[in-house]
């Protein structure tokens, strides 16, 4: 008992107190930890910061002198160009339009997934019906095959259905995977059964129970999964690349591919605009997870269970 007390007091006041002999090793590990963390931050943030500072220079400077670490002063010019200048082969697509498409994909994917998977999870957890086990396993199999593996036939199916270059073709096939369903299934199972029994005694039917009790109870979970799914949806690359050949449907992340291809042929590639575009593409998801950090972590970690 006494030992713990000494330990914990050393832990809280150790940094301010004059270092006694006992305190010294403790202090060393603390400095070591800060050094490790600072190196980690440098490793994680460094590339982003360099990419951002470089994007504020003009492309000739970058081409001549390499990536830049200072402030280039071309910030407004470059980002205005990326956002408003019409580019692409047809000259129709602007950064703003791509941002809008990314938002549609991110929001549509997140909302669609939450709605579809909540309903399915509700059926599986709260109902007794003959095909329950079968349905569960069918949903389960979708975890086995990532879209990347079945990309070619998926493309053909969507093509046959005439859904190429549509928002629904972009969003719906991505919802097929069951991660959300499993997430809500897990959560519903953790809701005390008595709540449902109390509701039944209170005269609530299945629809009322879902709407009056379960949905309000799931608010935090819904928010957590929404944040994750928004980021996942926004960051989709392969599927939008195949699905959208019309530039009007390009998302920001999809647009990266085109920028890259234009750079290959150029004499002096527009490095600054490519990087500015990368910045734009990462900004909304980054903001979302920083602002809703607690919820984001909760959602992410809950999936493990």
């Amino acid at each position: 008992m006494a030992v713990t007390e000494i330990d914990s007091s050393a832990e809280t006041s150790g940094t301010t107190k004059a270092a006694s002999a006992d305190n010294r090793p403790r202090r060393k590990t603390k400095i070591f930890d800060h050094v490790v963390l600072w190196l980690g931050v440098l490793l994680m943030m460094g590339p982003i910061i360099v990419a951002f500072t470089t994007s504020t220079f003009d492309h000739v400077t970058i081409h001549r002198e390499g990536m830049q670490f200072g402030w280039g002063g071309e910030f407004v010019e470059t980002y205005k160009n990326v956002l408003y200048q019409e580019g692409g082969f047809t000259g129709e697509v602007t950064g703003l339009l791509m941002t809008q498409n990314s938002l549609i994909l991110g929001l549509g994917f997140a909302i669609g997934k939450i709605v579809v998977s909540m309903l399915a999870a509700y059926a599986i957890v709260y109902f007794r019906f003959p095909l329950a086990t079968f349905s569960f396993w069918v949903i389960f199999t979708t975890l086995l095959l990532p879209l990347e593996v079945r990309i070619l036939p998926s493309y053909e199916v969507v093509q046959q259905l005439g859904m190429l270059n549509t928002y629904s073709g972009l969003i719906i096939p991505l919802i097929a995977s069951a991660t959300g369903t499993f997430f809500f299934r897990q959560f519903f199972k953790s809701v005390p059964n008595e709540l449902m029994e109390a509701a039944r005694i209170d005269g609530a039917g299945p629809v009322q129970f879902f709407w009056d009790i379960l949905v309000p109870l799931s608010k935090t979970m819904m928010a957590a999964i929404f944040i994750i799914m928004f980021v996942v949806g926004w960051n989709q690359y392969l599927w939008p690349t195949l699905m959208t050949t019309e530039e009007g449907y390009f998302t920001l992340v999809r647009g990266i591919r085109n920028i890259m291809q234009q750079m290959i042929g150029a004499d002096i590639p527009e490095y600054n605009e490519a990087l500015a575009m990368a910045m734009l593409a990462m900004l909304p998801p980054a903001l979302v997870i920083i602002i809703f950090q607690r919820m984001f972590i909760k959602g992410l970690v809950e999936q493990e269970k």
């Binding site: 008595e194 109390a198 005694i201 005269g203």
Partner: protein, 347 residues
Amino acid sequence: MTTLRIRNAIKQYPNGAQAVKGVSVDVEDGELVVFVGPSGCGKSTLLRMVAGLEEVTDGEIELNGRVVNNLEPADRNIAMVFQNYALYPHMSVRKNLAYGLKNRGTPSDEIDRKVEEAGALLQISEFLDRKPSQLSGGQRQRVAMGRAIVRNPAIFLFDEPLSNLDAKLRNQMRLEIKKLQRRLDTAAIYVTHDQVEAMTLADRIVVLNNGMVEQIGTPTEVYSRPATTFVASFIGAPPMNLIPGELSKGQLHIGAHSMPMNSAHAGPVTFGFRPERAHMNGAASGLAVEIGVIEELGAHRLIHGRVGDHEVTVAQDAELPPPDGRMMLAFNEQDTHLFDPDTGARV
């Protein structure tokens, strides 16, 4: 009149296991009946069958003269208080109380009136607009009861409602439940594994074991004339001492000791006596107990010892001098119990 009749109720699970094996119990108007037994004895299952939360495999549940076997819980005119309260965490206390009434299409001014009434009765009026998470355990308990009261049900069903409270609060709430039930004069079933709760609350106790009724009776009956060794050892704390003996010609033999017993029975028996009903007469004769450990409890003390190979416990008034080494016990005959060693039934 009889509020509830349970006729030969059986609960069998799809895997063949039987949780309730043919139980019949009546609950009279205004009566508080306690189902007591160890965990897994089927008491909660039986209660849930009455509530309609478990299907009745066989038998009949009749509420106010109407068989309710196939009715939804909401249509049975019952109200239930759950062990973990099962309050809707996202609703205010007021909404929690009103939810059941609203689902029944009760006019909103009537809902308001009933909620206010229940709030006043349970002294939770000032908390009506709080969420359950902002309340203490005892307050949540009251809300859970309020939710049952507003509905004016034919019968209250309590499923171990006090087991989440600390000891002090539990005693206090126990008393309040009893007062409330008397005042509302509504029949109630109360499920618990705690025999003290059962003894203090019940008009009648139903002792259940292994899906079957061991005994039904008033607390006094169950305490003073237990029907089986199970009831004898379950009701009363510390439990009744049970030691094997042999009965012949009106004499009970335990080891070397023998005492007269007004019984025509002969052969091996289980002899039972309550710790608090044994006399230490200081005489040389009596049932000899080798004393082991002594626990002082303030008002009285518990003396743990052995009769042959069998542990026994005797309670003694703390004002008397504690015995040492060995003691001799004597009994009034009405305080002794004899059971069949094979069936456990009272002889």
